[in-house]
Symmetry: C2
Subunit: 342 residues, 2 copies
């Protein structure tokens, strides 16, 4: 008894309702092309059997899935959460479903995930940043899967993107910091290899130094992995220099919060003893104590616009267009001028 009966198919429903499979299919996909009476019969059968369409079969027959994949480096911290949330909500509004995968910042895993999502029938893909093997873009193209890069905007890149200019944003923030009189700077960043956002931020910072007549080579740089602990460790290392920096930039808010915590543990006051600057403006930044001075990234707007762009290209066939969004400094409490020489 209780033998596991096979899950019902379109055919079962058709039989139960006494109609053809075509009618059941229509009933599900174009309810208005079916008579009221028939529809009722079919719906009753569907509920009775607990039928639910088989996605794979449907995808195979229809050659589209109304599914868009999003591949992000990590779900561990909230960096991408807000943007994805907005992305998903907009998608949902248009009847699309989002599939997420994360890569732990590893290129090989990313490629694996891309293939996996494409194989799963994703109609389009959302990718973070431009940096990846060219063959991946070729693959995507031959598969006819549009891919939109986000979290970055590079007018020179071949791949269309909806994002912001990491370089310009960091440069602007750094200019403000330097204008305050800081001359001894440090940067705690994610590893730059394979991470164009991190690289752009680093270069943007150096550009600001250069523009202000400082030697960019003097910037103390530590590359680590995103994470509060790592931010703390890196901060300790940075401050142990013979001549410790008066302002420490961080590649993102997670690192900055780690730095902040470490500063506290080292008995350093922020921003009196040292300024700490983040990037991303995730919720964490406002909660940190003191509230973090950081670069505000338009997470929700970015997710929303990316979704619209993808849906549009899917429905119109018109190639994706890049969109630049602003990312600007937001000054809170962790930045002040360097200590005056008494």
């Amino acid at each position: 008894m209780n033998s596991k009966r096979p899950t019902p198919t379109l055919n079962d429903v058709a039989t139960e309702a006494g109609v053809s499979t075509a009618t059941v299919s229509r009933c599900l996909n174009f309810p208005d092309r079916v008579s009221q009476r028939t529809r009722d019969k079919v719906m009753t059968a569907i509920n009775l059997l607990g039928y639910s369409p088989n996605f794979g079969a449907s995808a195979m027959a229809a050659r589209r899935t109304k599914t868009i994949g999003a591949i992000i480096p990590t779900m561990e911290n909230a960096i991408f959460a807000r943007g994805l949330q907005a992305f998903q909500e907009t998608l949902r509004g248009y009847g699309y479903t989002m599939l997420v995968a994360s890569t732990a910042y590893r290129a090989d895993i990313e490629e694996e995930q891309i293939r996996s999502l494409v194989a799963r029938g994703a109609d389009a893909l959302l990718l973070i940043g431009h940096d990846r093997d060219a063959q991946i873009y070729t693959f995507l193209e031959t598969q006819g899967v549009p891919a939109l890069v986000t979290w970055a905007f590079d007018p020179h890149a071949e791949q269309p993107s909806v994002g912001f200019d990491n370089h310009a944003a960091m440069r602007e923030m750094a200019a403000s910091v330097i204008a305050l009189g800081h001359e001894n700077l440090a940067l705690i960043t994610a590893r730059c290899a394979g991470n164009d956002r991190a690289r752009a931020r680093l270069v943007g910072l150096r550009a600001a130094m250069e523009a202000a007549g400082q030697d960019p080579e003097l910037l103390q740089v530590i590359q680590t992995t995103y994470g509060i602990e790592n931010g703390a460790a890196a901060f300790a290392e940075v401050m142990s220099a013979k001549k410790p920096p008066t302002a420490v930039f961080c590649g993102n808010d997670v690192l900055a919060v780690g730095a902040l915590r470490q500063a506290r543990e080292m008995g350093l006051s922020v921003p009196e003893d040292v300024s700490i600057i983040g990037f991303d403006d995730i919720e964490l930044a406002q909660v940190a104590y003191p509230p973090l001075t950081t670069v505000h990234v338009p997470h929700a707007e970015m997710g929303h616009r990316a979704a619209l762009a993808l849906i549009d290209t899917l429905q119109s066939g018109i190639p994706l267009q890049s969109i630049a969004l602003p990312a600007t400094p937001v000054f809170r409490k962790t930045l002040a001028g360097p200590k005056a020489v008494k």
Copy 2:
């Protein structure tokens, strides 16, 4: 020119390599049942064409996908991130893929997502908490899709779970707080409807009060939505009572951090003026200032064990077994005895 050529299929590869589709399929799934020579030919063809198998077709033919779905209430904050990460990693190690979906804490969306994942061929599902319509479990059963509940452990529930006892954990924490002399308590929690974890924590708190001879009815309860802002607002409300509480419990760390921030803004010292207690012990808790006293949840262990359990049942056919993991108080800096009456 540049006409979008159709994506290559098994058939194309077979033709290109001069073998049958069966051989190509075997080559991909059981490489050792194919001669070296043939394998080389096939692989060459695959690379040449940029072939990648169609998941839907494969799922349909093989009747399994090596995919496990995870449906969580939210990705906005990091509550589930750590657990999911561990879940995914373990899955990956066994050749399984994780698909995530979030529900924004809405039952109707959850049901939609469950159906969507099942339709997508998820071999099994990971669900958060027990609370949901019975028909969903029926649906899952008729579909033959094993579902494992996590983030909760209720020995009385029908559904198997790998989690911790929210009631007992909160009760234990509350007992410690009460032992410090607190008699005027408040709780800021997520809405309890449809959220068994929140409810269990609330009841656990009341149980501790009762056990200590206090009237559980005196507990001031505010239900809100998870979020730092909401935590802050709720805290302000709680403290505006004629007789404000000396200890404020929070349903999770996110709310607690909001409360912490609000306390600062109101000029209240924590824990001198008021104690604040969180739940979950996400990374945020250690970063908060002061570091949060909270209930530690074994996120990674939970995710890991859940993955193992699901894989096991999938491969052995043996029904899922529930597993209880410990969740215990961790005392940091936001809890102290109530102010002595001067």
